[in-house]
Amino acid sequence: MAATSAGRVLALCKQFHNVVRISSTIPSQNTGICLTKSSLARPNLLAGAACHICPVVQCRPLHTTISRMGLEEFFDLPDNWGESTVKSGAPWTVTLLRSKSNEELHKLWYLLLKEKNMLLTIEQEAKRQRVSMPSPERLKKIERSMQRLDKVVEERETALRLLQTGQEYARPADWRRNLFGKVVWHRFREYAIPWYMNATYKRRRFYTPSFVKPHIRLRMEKNLRTRARQADLEKKQLAKLKEKFPQMKASS
């Protein structure tokens, strides 16, 4: 297959969504096309530079069709109504999303969200009419794209936080001993009042009382026994497999 990744990707169809070249201050409607056309029609504005983001104050999108208050976005394109399968491209991958700016990711998120809402409407309507939804894999693709986008945004946030504060996690947490003698990663919750005024919090005990000691010992013994039994079982299974398949490799 094509050796270079660029060749492979260029050959690949991509994605979900309209070209993300919309000016920043536009209220996002399906007028992306209209806007790029209008921006091209005004060459006096920084013609040489790559002005994908031009100040849009002067431009007003023209509505040539009856706008049903934007409700048409909950439905698919009219060409796809009644089709049993709808063609859709591959989802966004993490590598592709990492090369996009924060602003583009922000816009892409809302485009994906609107597409997801549209697909969920179709799914619910199909359930109501007791027919099968056309191309349900579209929902999975959108879901995965959104998860990957979230992952990329989280990565960037973590990097910045580590640089600026040295904190690994966004949510404050700490190691605390619980009633059963275990030290757990206690994730903090947000309260309006400090801990010394919180009666329910003060009733919680973050230490192990002395009467729990026998239980801890019994638990330790139980764990040791289960682990020993499991190791024994694995050894026996391996021996049996070795007997049946003498040529197999050592690792199970």
Binding site: M1, L77, G89, N102, P172, R189, Y191
Partner: protein, 216 residues
Amino acid sequence: MRLTAFLSMAAKVVLPKDYRYGMSRPWTEAAKKRNPLGKARRKVFIEPIASQDWSVFKGDTVEILAGKDKGKQGKVVQVIRKRNWVVLEGLNTHFRYIGKTWDYRGTYIASEAPLLLENVTLIDPTDRKATQIEWKFTEEGEKVRVSSRTGRIIPKPISERCDGIVTQQWKDGPKDTSPDDTLEKTYVPSLKTLEEEVMERLGIQEQRRPRRSYWY
């Protein structure tokens, strides 16, 4: 969050430890009939083969070494790694009726039985004979299958994507982003979070200050 976790748990198929995998997928009715819940079937021993050592893929041409169709070559249609099975197209077949009703005897079809991995070998493309395979690294660092007899590389078969997209024949739809736009690199690393950057772009000024809250 807990509700979605619960729903996903309900949707997921939980299989017992010594589940015997068959030709049907575990969530189908046929598989449920063969492996009823609560009943443990007789254990089958499967030779453990690491995923790195697996050398037969869907679309490969292989030769059968043992069984009814010994010596014949066929294309691999399905691979079931849990049982070390390989299903070849039109080979090792038995016959059965499908679509039986109370008055109709059904269609008589040939259905392929799976073959164990040790009973098939890959074929050398040069002389079209059976050969043993080794995994070796090329100069570029790619891991390839090399025939031990002739030393020729056996390329991995082109398998179609699970979403059915054929890259050469793809045409972008109205909602697809063009390849140029997808590959365009617009990210400029900065010391601003996504929220700050977006607020700056949109000209949003947040005058409110968050109320004092306590985390514990």
